[in-house]
């Protein structure tokens, strides 16, 4: 079984500080998407369970520098090969552009039975890329996988829905997105990190995929990205505890927060 797992490099969100209500994005280290690591782990487990399979890590970014640690990390976890789509034009892309690029890359890779994604990325969390790729490739997709086994028509998947679990089967090739509860991603050992550099890695540009930079350009522009400012009511409740409690209930009723 050939499994392609798509991984994304994000900024390490914990390292970002806020200055004048704006995030300071300069010199923030990169980090592999958390759910992407679950997807890699799922791919590795499936590969080992099925046998005679390989895992290809696929990533898209505007520079090699941005993704090199991510690629090293997933190869160290155990992926067999990596394909990087690197092109400066990807600097200003969006989910649709990334999906187009990934779909083109998958077509160039040619043989794939399963394509795995995290259900969303650690930064934008739009959850769009996996489903979009499935549509572009015209293959079945199953989102929110919490368990994946080879079998049935091709693959058997338990989906984690809010209040129930759904079990589906799909023929291959198929696109799956995984949730964090599916597994605990392994931490690569030093030795494997060392060897990761020697695994086969391909780097393609958009031109190599026959894509025009215009085809991946974002159709929206972010004008501002700020948390909403909320006005405080500044209501002070006076009196003893009993009076304050009554006052609070009244105030909440008046705001329509209680008793709806």
């Amino acid at each position: 079984m050939d499994i392609v797992v798509s991984v994304k490099t994000n900024l390490d969100l914990q390292m970002i500080r806020i200055k004048n209500r704006e995030p300071v994005l300069e010199a923030i280290p990169y980090k592999t998407g958390d759910l992407d690591k679950n997807a890699v782990e799922a791919a590795l487990q499936l590969r080992d369970a099925v046998g005679d399979s390989k895992v290809i890590a696929l990533t898209v970014a505007e520079s090699n520098r941005k993704v090199r640690e991510t690629i090293k990390e997933v190869l160290a976890m155990g992926a067999d090969e990596a394909v990087l789509i690197v092109d400066p034009a990807l600097e200003s892309t969006d989910q649709a552009g990334v999906a187009r690029t990934l779909a083109a890359a998958l077509q160039k890779i040619g043989s794939y039975d399963l394509v795995l994604f995290g259900e969303g990325s650690s930064d934008d969390y739009s959850g769009q890329v996996g489903p979009r790729v499935a549509e572009l490739l015209g293959v079945p997709q199953i989102g929110y996988a919490r368990k994946i086994t080879a079998g049935g028509a091709g693959v058997l998947v338990e989906r984690s829905m809010d209040e129930f679990i759904e079990t589906l089967e799909a023929p291959l090739p198929a696109v799956l997105t995984v949730v964090s509860e599916i597994n605990e991603p392994r931490i690569p050992s030093l030795m494997n990190i060392m060897k990761a550099g020697k695994k086969p890695t391909e780097e393609w540009s958009l031109a190599d995929l026959g894509l025009d930079p215009a085809a991946v350009a974002s159709s929206c522009e972010t004008l501002s990205n700020l948390a909403e400012e909320q006005d405080r009511k500044h209501v002070m409740l006076e009196g003893g505890a009993v009076d304050q409690a009554a006052g609070l209930v009244n105030a909440l009723l008046k705001e329509g927060i209680l008793g709806r």
């Binding site: 914990q14 390292m15 500080r17 010199a27």
Partner: protein
């Protein structure tokens, strides 16, 4: 700005495992000076309600001053695992 607020500016990646463990029995039995309480630049050591020494390892700056200053070897102190502990943005 008080010390808690200062520490709030730093990035701490907090491990489930603690990297500082106090042998409280030693603190109670032999230590009169209790150096850890005043040498720690992050002010993380505190005597709790039961009179026992505690450390809020989560805010540790990893300077090692408490370890070096404890004459009674009451501390089991090692660096946090990779991916954890303080990460200075500027240093």
């Amino acid at each position: 700005m008080n010390i808690e607020a200062k520490l709030g500016l730093d990035v701490f990646k907090i491990d489930k495992e603690r990297h500082i463990t106090i042998d409280v029995e030693v603190c109670n039995r032999v230590c009169t000076d209790k150096a850890c309480l005043y040498v720690c630049p992050a002010h993380l050591y505190e005597i709790d309600d039961q009179g026992n020494n505690t450390v809020n390892f989560e805010g540790c700056l990893e300077c090692g001053t408490c370890l070096i200053s404890c004459d009674h070897r009451a501390l089991e102190w090692h660096y946090p695992r990779g991916e954890y502990g303080v990460q200075y943005r500027m240093g």
